[in-house]
Symmetry: C2
Subunit: 359 residues, 2 copies
């Protein structure tokens, strides 16, 4: 088992990574304050791993709540049903909430933990690659609004993250690929050595081989923990983690939540960001090709759906959270491993990139 | 104008108290970060004071959202309509939200500011006595759940509080009395000198005379600021501010939100807490009489509605936020000005006090 630390002063917490962690009773005991626990999972993950988790919680008074599966259910309404369960239990301010599942479960359950009685203890047990390398780490929680992704949420840090690599064995190929999109992101924004490693080991990663997969999770969590510790509330460098996300969120919103997986939309978003960077003369054409090819080898899409008009694309982008003083703030690239936050790009260049992508 | 400071390190903020502050452009300018502002008010307050506030915001790009009036609308659904307006505007992470109104407006709007894009800037402009002395100060924001008051919320501090005492002139007598309940609370829990002052000046306060009213607001805010600075997230002494609130919330939930004003329910709750303290031999009978009489002179109820069964009362109390390790945690009294947090009272005493109150 590897242990990484997210260094946030009094709110610091460990990330545990390795096989067989679901059954490590000691980890749960260490981070649960009182007797009452609520476990939140979804219809896909619960049949696979809920019993295993519950077996690690003997002696606790556990209430379970199973959410419908998929991004389209990441809404205030779904959140409200979880609150109904928690109040009926009844959960107190001392209850701990455990999120068992992928990014959607972690986002909803984390936001519920942030809001329930103004905040209760919370443990992330991510079961998808995307959640293990990205969404479960760093304290971003949220639900969607019909007009914008992750518009309603909180920065709220867990007491720990328990990433059991065994749970990845049941991921279907599409979910695994979606996670790899966020993996590639870390290489592109700040870790050229890791990017090169991915170019050499993508096939092992796609087969979910150990030790490749554990290495990947540890490297991603290390990168993310550094960025989060430096800038918890995303006022500066943490925003680099949004590479491809403003484009990606626009795709997810335009096609309807749940149609594209988040990681698929982010993969296309990274390609669009790289294309814009290339058009502006900041990124070498060779590097654009390397990014696009690596994502393709992971089984990810590299161009947006053709039925989104450029105006619609821009409208959704302008509603995203990364808007500053009426400008869409983008993460662009000066090289592989060198990203920067930009608002002063020429609008025509953005429009041209989108027009050529959906043509 | 009096200025008090809530000392919370990097999140410290001023409370401005005095007449004519609604039109003090400089105060708003000092605390608004960017051009975009959303003003949230309700159907009662907006016709009276919205134009005055807007006149103080020249040059800003202002969106208004008017909520229905009353505690029964302090729900996730109402919050959702506010998010619709903010996303359509569109508001960004740099938008400032101004809450213009009483406790309900401040609680909903403050929670919206806490959640919108994971947190935006926020100014409280309380227009009721209750909001000026209590709910607008200290960063508690929330909405209700059908089964429990303020169950869903956040600790989220404003950039400043602007308490214009002129706005109290349009309060009806019932609303003013409800505010006085929270005023009396500060005297009872920690300020016997202030309690005595209230005994001597209750008539002036009920007429909303200056300088009595300004003195009261400053004294209450000073007391609250001290407690909040010592314990922002209510892990210890801040909980004393909940005197009467567990009883009060049970009444509000039992009779249906909006039937009783929050301050009315708190007044009865304080009397019940004093009666229990008296029955346990901690509080002198004379002090119980003084508390009950002072609340009566303010035009407040001092006994609960007769149609709540004791079991129902206890059930609602057990669902309140102050439950710790399955015990209802109560604020009880050892004297006027000496409150303490208690879980080890005999259950029979609580049951007897409730039974005799609803008999």
């Amino acid at each position: 088992m590897a242990v990484l630390n997210v260094d946030l002063g009094s709110r610091s917490y460990p990330i545990y990574v390795g096989p067989g962690l679901l059954s490590r009773e000691d980890l749960y005991h260490r981070h649960i304050a009182a007797q009452e626990v609520v476990v939140v999972s979804d219809e896909t993950v619960a049949p696979l791993y809920l019993d295993g988790l519950l077996a690690s919680l003997p002696g606790f008074n556990v209430t379970c709540h199973i959410l419908p599966d998929g991004e389209e259910h990441k809404t205030l309404e779904t959140l409200s049903t979880l609150f109904d369960t928690m109040i009926a239990a009844p959960c107190s301010r001392e209850t701990s909430l455990i999120a068992l599942g992928g990014g959607v479960v972690g986002d909803i359950a984390g936001f519920a933990a942030a809001c329930y009685q103004r905040g209760i203890g919370f443990i992330q047990v991510p079961t998808t690659l995307l959640a293990q390398v990205d969404s479960a780490v760093g304290g971003k929680t949220a639900v969607n609004h019909p007009l914008g992704k992750n518009m309603i949420g909180a920065f709220y840090q867990p007491a720990c993250v328990i990433a059991d690599t065994d749970t990845l064995s049941t991921l279907d190929g599409r979910q695994l690929s979606a996670g790899i999109a966020e993996v590639v992101k870390y290489g592109v924004i700040r870790d050229p050595t890791f990017f090169k490693w991915l170019e050499q080991n993508m096939e092992a990663l796609c087969r979910c081989d150990n030790p490749a997969i554990e290495h990947v999770i540890v490297e991603c969590c290390r990168n993310k923990a550094e960025l989060v510790a430096a800038d918890e509330e995303e006022r500066a460098e943490r925003a680099l983690l949004n590479l491809g996300h403003t484009f990606g969120h626009a795709i997810e919103t335009a096609v309807g939540y749940g149609q594209w997986l988040h990681g698929e939309a982010v993969a296309v978003g990274m390609v669009l960001a790289a294309e814009l960077s290339c058009r502006l003369g900041w990124l070498a054409a060779d590097d654009l090709v390397r990014i696009r090819e690596l994502l393709s080898r992971a089984g990810l899409p590299v161009s947006p759906p053709k039925n989104i008009a450029v105006e619609e694309f821009l409208l959704h982008m302008s509603r995203d959270k990364k808007v500053a003083r009426s400008r869409i703030r983008l993460v662009l690239l000066e090289g592989i491993g060198r990203a920067k936050l930009v608002t002063d790009y020429p609008d025509e260049a953005l429009t041209e990139v989108l027009a050529s992508a959906v043509a």
